[in-house]
């Protein structure tokens, strides 16, 4: 069943997708930092308030994915920030996260060498997010 993006239901399904990914289990080995996704508000797209997704990823496993405020996400070790529409493009595979980061469309804060070392894991996390069926508020 389709869920609202960046909602608690979405977070639960996203976590399940990550934990059922053999690719992430392998490529995420060694990763032990929190990742925050800041989804910036776009009221004209029916996404009125910024939101934060706090991802506790550890050694190829998602220990927890919680929805909170943008400030919650900004406290993570790595923070990726983009407006709602960009995240939607990522979730719909219209924007590759590696290209998005190189182009500055997805703004990354954190130790760059570490995240570059885990490019494949990052790509797989994004791939997992695309497997969650979503009902986009601007498409209603």
């Amino acid at each position: 069943m389709a869920v609202k993006p960046f909602s608690n239901d979405w977070a639960d399904q996203f976590k399940d997708q990550i934990n059922s990914s053999a690719v992430y289990k392998q490529t995420g080995k060694g990763w032990k930092w929190t990742v925050g996704m800041v989804v910036e508000a776009e009221p004209d797209k029916h996404f009125p308030d910024s939101r934060g997704v706090v991802m506790d990823l550890f050694e190829g496993e998602a220990r927890g994915i919680k929805i909170g405020s943008a400030a919650d996400a900004q406290r993570c070790d790595f923070v990726i920030t983009a407006p709602y529409t960009r995240w939607k493009q990522v979730a719909q595979k219209e924007l590759d996260p590696t290209k998005g980061m190189l182009q500055g469309k997805l703004k990354l804060k954190g130790d760059l060498p570490t995240i570059v070392r885990y490019t494949k894991a990052t790509q797989e996390v994004v791939e997992c997010s695309t497997r969650v069926p979503v009902e986009w508020p601007d498409e209603k």
Binding site: D77, L102, Q103, D111, L112, T114, V116
Partner: protein, 131 residues
């Protein structure tokens, strides 16, 4: 992002700082699948990043975004040479052979390519918390 990566690498690793402080070259990187690129102007201890390809480049690397990231994951082996016999190295070598990774000016600038690779490489980095 590429400038930030070099900055973080040089700050965190004394051996890269040594390379960086001695290195003078103009290196273009063109990311073919986004049709964007930068020129990294290394000037012995400083780096100027230009948007797009500036003239008088010593070498120009042309590859897709994923390959550029893979280049950063090349391990550095004995005598500071990039390792081309492990999985990452073989995939880079294959892309070179297939023409999916092109390095203009490679002939005559192999030392420059190796130094850039060393400065870029994040493989084998000591783990550290995010900045």
């Amino acid at each position: 992002m590429l400038g930030g990566l070099i900055e973080a690498n040089v700050e965190g690793r004394p051996e890269k700082r040594k390379d960086f402080d001695r290195f003078a070259a103009r290196v273009g990187i063109w990311v073919t699948d986004i049709d964007e690129g930068v020129t990294l102007d290394f000037k012995r201890g400083s780096l100027v990043v230009h948007n797009g390809l500036a003239p008088k480049r010593d070498i120009t690397i042309r590859a897709e975004a994923e390959t550029v990231m893979t280049l950063s994951n090349l391990r550095i082996g004995l005598f500071g040479m990039p390792v081309y016999y492990d999985e990452t190295g073989r995939s880079v070598a294959l892309k070179l052979l297939q023409g999916k990774l092109k390095i203009d000016g490679l002939l005559g600038n192999i030392a420059t390519v190796n130094t850039v690779t060393r400065i870029f490489s994040v493989a084998g980095e000591p783990e550290k918390p995010a900045a």
